[in-house]
């Protein structure tokens, strides 16, 4: 243990050193995105002076449109999946948190088991099911698989928050003549905003970054997501780190922005709830 008083200068120094060492691989990617290809191998760690945008524009100018098509697919799949997941797991989580029936308890345990299942274990039968519904190699199919696979996590998160919403609030609205549906959407759901933000953040990041599921479900022929696009681009860019790093940088940027934007909202949601409560 470091004694805080006698070595007050040591802690920030050590912290900065460890942080810098940890960040080094990310730094190498970042600087080389803006460096001309031929400068990368001779001087990988140097700053990109002057910075060039040719790697970035090269990614957009690809003839196979691997990035642009992948981006559209990723946005569509992620946005659809997390919207559906938030709505469904909020309703399901609310029901499971409030219901006292045996059926609900059995259902909950069944759902929680799903949290432990690694995707490779079920992937082959998942493709059989998708084929049976003619959904193999479609974005809809991928969205449905995402919804099924991640709904346990959403339910678990929402349940925790529903238990913090006073039952009396719902009963009061009910006595005033509101339907169950309306009570949920106008009274409960707004109070669950922090949970919704968490579900959107976690699942948005996970689904965007998913590799194996889109790789198999979308298959080799049709378009794919940006994350799988990075994998496909590796072989082609074997010698050109600049283009590959630019591809990865662009594939990461949207989800990083999404994460940072929602994270703020997440904190706001927490404090907003605290004041009202």
């Amino acid at each position: 243990m470091i004694d805080a008083r006698t070595h007050a200068w040591l802690r920030p120094l050590v912290a900065i050193f460890v942080g810098a060492a940890f960040f080094l691989p990310l730094y190498l990617m970042l600087v080389n995105v803006f460096k001309p290809g031929e400068e990368i191998l001779p001087s990988p760690a140097s700053l990109p002076l002057p910075p060039t945008l040719e790697n970035i524009s090269g990614v957009f100018a690809r003839e196979d449109n691997l990035f642009t098509f992948g981006l559209v697919n990723s946005i569509a799949v992620t946005a659809l999946s997390i919207t559906i997941l938030t709505v469904l797991s909020a309703m399901l989580g609310h029901y499971l948190a409030r219901s006292t029936r045996l059926f609900a308890k059995v259902l909950l345990v069944t759902l929680l088991c799903g949290l432990m299942i690694p995707i490779p274990v079920i992937l082959s039968p998942v493709t059989s099911v998708l084929k049976a519904f003619d959904l193999m190699a479609t974005l809809q199919g991928l969205v449905l698989v995402n919804v099924g696979y991640y709904v346990p996590f959403g339910v678990l998160l929402f349940m925790g928050f529903v238990k913090g919403v006073p039952r009396e609030l719902e009963e009061a609205a009910e006595l005033d003549g509101a339907s169950r549906f309306r009570v949920f959407w106008q009274v409960v759901f707004p109070l669950l905003r922090p949970a919704s933000a968490s579900v959107l953040i976690f699942l948005g990041v996970w689904i965007w970054n998913d590799f194996l599921t889109p790789l198999i479900v979308l298959g080799p022929d049709s378009g794919t997501t940006v994350t799988v696009g990075v994998y496909r681009a590796i072989g082609q860019y074997e010698s050109d780190f600049g283009d590959l790093f630019a591809f990865m940088f662009l594939a990461t940027l949207p989800i990083l922005i999404f994460y940072l934007a929602l994270q703020k909202n997440f904190v706001k949601g927490l404090t907003g709830g605290a004041v009202k409560g």
Partner: protein, 320 residues
């Protein structure tokens, strides 16, 4: 949090008794059937879960007793033959060993490193907040992206070896090409990605340790190490549980890094994990039956180990 627990304990009492004279209870009892109808709106979620998780699990279990291969029909029931084959299949045994090694390294290293870094950053200032963001960044990135970055660092003529040669090392190690080393490089990469997760969870735990407790222990003459062992560490029990279970599951299902960086190599399966084998058998070899048996063993191991570890660690939380 206290409210939540109270609500949970309160529920069964509301449910079990038949309609009694108490007005409050019957008001709540009336709500339940309406909740039931309301649950219909959640059916699509359950349907997706049933179709894409539950049904596939059952199918995996069933296929594991067959010789199913879509390019080699007909499918026949073969009993436990796949499992018997597994027990003496060197590829499977190596994948099992590799998976255990990766899981152990990741679980220990990320826990220890995460705790040390969390203790380092447990101060209220902008600097430490920014550094927390630095450590957390890889958690938000795709493991494909992280794999490619680390591959460019660790490959034979990569950035690390160029730097080592610059420092005068004549024959720097083949971090990814040496079959003895590659597995540890993969474990390191996964550790690096998960470290920030552990840091954030441990920081949350550390911030829950009351200052008064630390001060009281200091007044009683406890040194830094004794204070950590007797005050801080027991209070971090829930954080340890979350991190350990998360790391175990992450290690057990390691796939992306292997697919992207080594494709199971170098040599024969030096870095192949169980998840990698399952996918390879199913989608490259088309041996669905055999792959399903492998998947069933993998699932049993993940579930078994997670449940046991969870039990042990949670008991520790209670007794302290």
């Amino acid at each position: 949090m206290a409210d939540t627990k109270h609500a949970v304990r309160g529920e069964p009492a509301l449910a079990t008794p038949p309609r009694t004279s108490r007005a409050r209870r019957s008001a709540r009892a009336r709500l339940t059937p309406k909740l039931g109808r309301f649950a219909l709106f959640a059916l699509p979620g359950l349907l997706a879960y049933g179709l894409f998780v539950l049904l596939p699990i059952l199918m995996t279990g069933y296929y594991s007793f067959t010789n199913r291969n879509p390019f080699n029909p007909p499918t026949e029931f073969v009993g436990f033959r796949n499992y018997v084959t597994l027990a003496s299949d060197p590829e499977f045994l190596q994948a099992l060993a590799n998976t255990v090694i990766i899981t152990l390294i990741v679980t220990v290293l990320a826990n220890v490193g995460g705790l040390l870094i969390a203790m380092l950053l447990d101060r209220p200032s902008k600097l430490y907040l920014a550094l927390r963001g630095v450590f957390f960044t890889p958690v938000v990135l795709s493991s494909v992206v992280i794999s490619v970055i680390w591959r460019s660092v660790l490959t034979d003529d990569g950035l690390l070896n160029s730097a080592l040669r610059g420092l005068g090392v004549a024959n720097p190690p083949g971090w990814l090409s040496d079959p003895e080393l590659a597995l540890y490089s993969i474990a390191w990469i996964i550790t690096w990605q998960m470290l920030g997760f552990c840091v954030v969870v441990y920081l949350a735990g550390l911030q829950g340790v009351p200052r008064e407790l630390q001060e009281a222990a200091a007044i009683d003459g406890a040194g830094g190490l004794a204070r950590f062992r007797n005050v801080t560490w027991p209070m971090l029990a829930p954080a340890l549980t979350i991190n350990t279970v998360m790391l175990l599951i992450t290690g057990f299902k390691a796939y992306d890094q292997i697919q992207v960086i080594t494709n199971g190599g170098p040599g024969t399966g030096a870095t192949a994990t169980m998840a990698f084998q399952v996918v390879k058998e199913a989608f490259v070899g088309n041996r669905i039956g055999y792959s399903s048996a492998l998947a069933a063993v993998m699932l049993a191991l993940v579930a078994g180990v997670s449940v046991v570890v969870l039990r042990v660690l949670q008991r520790r939380e209670v007794t302290r």
